[in-house]
């Protein structure tokens, strides 16, 4: 496999509120291959959004290295650094908050175009803006360009923010929950448009979501990374991961999700957690942070040290998992609900 377009290596990130330090990300290692579909999945507070922002260079990691096209981002200076920043774009979750209400659509698309001298003059900017809007299926273009965000629907806004992200010809787009605030009926259209961008523009897309089903749909040919409380607990090819989840957390998640099929969802077996309370990030348990809730908790092992991602010895798949019992090849029995 060729050099990954981006690589996260030992990323830690913590935030300070008042006098307490909150470790939001711990030891994240992740390769993003060119043109692959990668999904980061996890519940709120698991650090997936922070990961996205670190990828997009919007947040510096507390420690660890980010490589973009093989070069450590920390060593990038001046133009190179700007180039990197422009090449990795983030699309936010909230289409209402991510567009400046005081600017027209043309304003917000033309600013980066003109600022980086990607086009010349207002006319050029207008032409390019129209192209971009067409690319994201926003027509009629001329109607849209001079509108303000509040005059657009949620789906249209999200398309605008994608078009804006494309102004700088990025090679990586990080889509952070980008369809979760859009109506169900048009989500798929938006997602498909994003998927098409890979074909049309050669953009690598990292999709961040809390919805495993959506992740599965999006990254069917790619990979999914499951995060829990700031750590990556399982990474692997989507099809393998969905079929045969390894990490207890992934398994619990998959068993807990209701499905849009009455019979299936009512007969599904739910794995009972040992505890329903999610630990606070400020009071993380020692060892594997899932152990207080984990049905497969092994005393003296899981609560002692933190498991690292690795392919279980017994496994024949490529899924990496951070769980001692799994790595040691124990067969995990599902509990009855």
């Amino acid at each position: 496999m060729s050099e990954p377009i981006m690589r996260l290596e030992g990323i830690y990130r913590s935030f300070r509120t008042g006098r307490t330090l909150i470790p939001v990300l711990q030891d994240i290692n992740l390769d993003i291959n060119e043109l692959e579909f990668l999904c980061l999945v996890g519940e709120s507070g698991c650090g997936k959004t922070t990961t996205g922002k670190i990828l997009a260079g919007l947040l510096p990691p507390s420690s660890g290295n980010i490589y973009y096209q093989g070069r450590n981002v920390r060593d990038l200076r001046g133009g190179d650094r700007r180039e990197y920043r422009r090449s990795v774009q983030l699309i936010h979750q909230d289409p209402y908050a991510s567009l400046n209400p005081t600017q027209t659509i043309f304003d917000m698309i033309s600013f980066p175009l003109l600022h980086h001298k990607l086009v010349s003059g207002q006319k050029g900017a207008r032409k390019r803006a129209a192209e971009l809007l067409e690319l994201v299926d926003l027509t009629p273009v001329e109607d849209i360009l001079d509108k303000y965000p509040h005059q657009l629907s949620g789906g249209q806004r999200q398309r605008v923010s994608i078009a804006r992200a494309l102004t700088t010809n990025p090679s990586v787009i990080v889509a952070d929950e980008s369809v979760s605030m859009v109506d169900v009926s048009i989500r798929i259209g938006l997602l498909q448009m994003l998927m098409n961008l890979r074909e049309e523009l050669g953009v690598t897309i990292v999709f961040i979501t809390h919805d495993l089903a959506l992740a599965k749909y999006f990254a069917w040919d790619g990979r999914i990374g499951v995060m829990y409380l700031g750590r990556m607990v399982e990474v692997g090819k989507t099809q393998e991961l969905i079929r045969d989840p390894q990490h207890p957390y992934t398994r619990v998640l998959l068993s807990a999700i209701p499905e849009p099929d009455p019979e299936k969802t009512r007969t599904k077996r739910h794995i009972q957690l040992r505890s329903e309370d999610i630990p606070r990030l400020t009071e993380l348990p020692p060892g594997c942070s899932f152990h207080p809730r984990c049905p497969w908790f092994v005393e003296g092992v899981c609560d002692k040290s933190v498991p690292q991602l690795g392919i279980p010895a017994s496994s024949n798949s490529s899924v990496e998992v951070a769980c001692f019992p799994v790595q040691e090849g124990e067969k995990l029995q599902l509990y009855e609900t």
Binding site: S185, R187, I188, L212, V252, P258, I278
Partner: protein, 344 residues
């Protein structure tokens, strides 16, 4: 209009039409909504944001915003043979009716509790407002309910709201909701904004409670999966109208309305296969100037000229499964084609 109500019907909504008066014009929030809710039954209203489902739920306890106007219809509750129209209750009657007959768990229960009062106080307030002043009895009942929703009752009862996590608050609110033994509990997006594992806990708790306390549930959601799991009856709401209503299996396995079908085919499943999904084209209509005829016609793949002229009636072969569409056949055909495609 059938005024006679079967004994097992606890709530009947009859031809309910509600208009919001805004500066830009009147918004036809709901049009001719009718349905029956039976005792112990769970009903789901499914629809996208702005479809009017929340308006329906608010009208059930007459908590509509000031600019809302009920232009037509009634909301009938039956308790022990007495049938009352909520929309005609006096202010005092209404106050007594609320929570005792019909409790509502609002969307985003994060702020459902007064932040400066202990949970205990809020239970006591609710009880006292309905003439139940024995604090010790309230306490016993509350602790029992809190245990039922799988919380540490003593701790939660004496806690302030901010000391509880989101899921705990949601469950506490459920417990508070059934404090007075209501016969109907309305849940507005009960699991939205909660983590999957918390959602699961809520769903389980709700199922438990409903089994034990035998109340009826109306819940409102855009989440088809939730409806699939919890509802007995599912109604699809589009642009202020019920476009399809029926038992949950009928709706999911035999959708008769293109919109219901469209929703089902736009939601990915956790199958071990890749889904064939399609969006519904276009966007939900503006309810100030809604489309003529069938309101879904601008987005419908099976649209004909007739659709834009006449609104189809809510009808069906089976009395319990009704849909409002002129072209059920076309939809059936399309579904068969799709099934074949999937099979391949």
């Amino acid at each position: 209009m059938n005024q006679k109500m079967n004994d097992d019907v606890v709530l009947r909504v009859d031809d309910l039409s509600i208009v919001y008066r805004t500066k830009r014009g009147n918004v036809q929030a709901t049009t001719d909504i009718s349905f029956d809710l039976k005792r112990g039954e769970a009903m789901a209203l499914i629809g996208e944001s702005g479809s009017g489902k929340t308006t329906v739920s608010l009208s059930l306890i007459r908590k509509l915003p000031k600019n809302a106007l009920v232009t037509k219809g009634q909301v009938l509750y039956q308790r022990e043979g007495n049938v009352r129209d909520v929309l005609k209750l006096s202010k005092r009657q209404l106050r007594e009716f609320r929570w005792k007959d019909c409790a509502m768990v609002f969307q985003g229960s994060q702020n459902a509790f007064n932040p400066v009062l202990k949970i205990r106080k809020q239970f006591e307030d609710t009880a006292r407002a309905h003439g139940w002043t024995d604090k010790e009895a309230v306490r016993q009942r509350a602790l029992e309910l809190l245990r039922l929703v799988r919380l540490d009752p003593e701790r939660v009862y004496e806690a302030y709201p901010h000391e509880l996590s989101g899921g705990m608050k949601q469950r506490t609110l459920l417990a508070l909701g059934v404090l007075l033994n209501p016969q109907v509990v309305i849940l507005d997006e009960p699991t939205t904004a909660l983590d999957i594992l918390t959602q699961r806990a809520i769903i389980d708790v709700l199922n438990d409670m409903q089994k034990k306390l035998n109340f009826s549930i109306i819940f409102i959601s855009h989440d088809l999966s939730l409806a699939a799991e919890m509802a007995d009856i599912v109604a699809t709401v589009y642009a202020g109208e019920i476009v399809e209503i029926g038992p949950v299996n009928d709706i999911f396995y035999d959708p008769q309305h293109p919109y219901t079908h469209g929703l089902l085919t736009s939601v990915p499943k956790l199958d071990h296969e890749q889904d064939l999904l399609t969006s519904i084209k276009g966007a939900p209509p503006n309810l100030i100037t809604p489309p003529s005829g069938c309101k879904f016609h601008p987005r419908c793949p099976y649209v004909t000229e007739k659709c834009s002229v006449d609104g189809p009636p809510l009808a069906g072969d089976k009395p319990e499964h009704l849909a409002a569409c002129w072209h059920k056949d076309a939809l059936l055909k399309a579904r068969e084609e799709l099934a074949q495609e999937v099979a391949q």
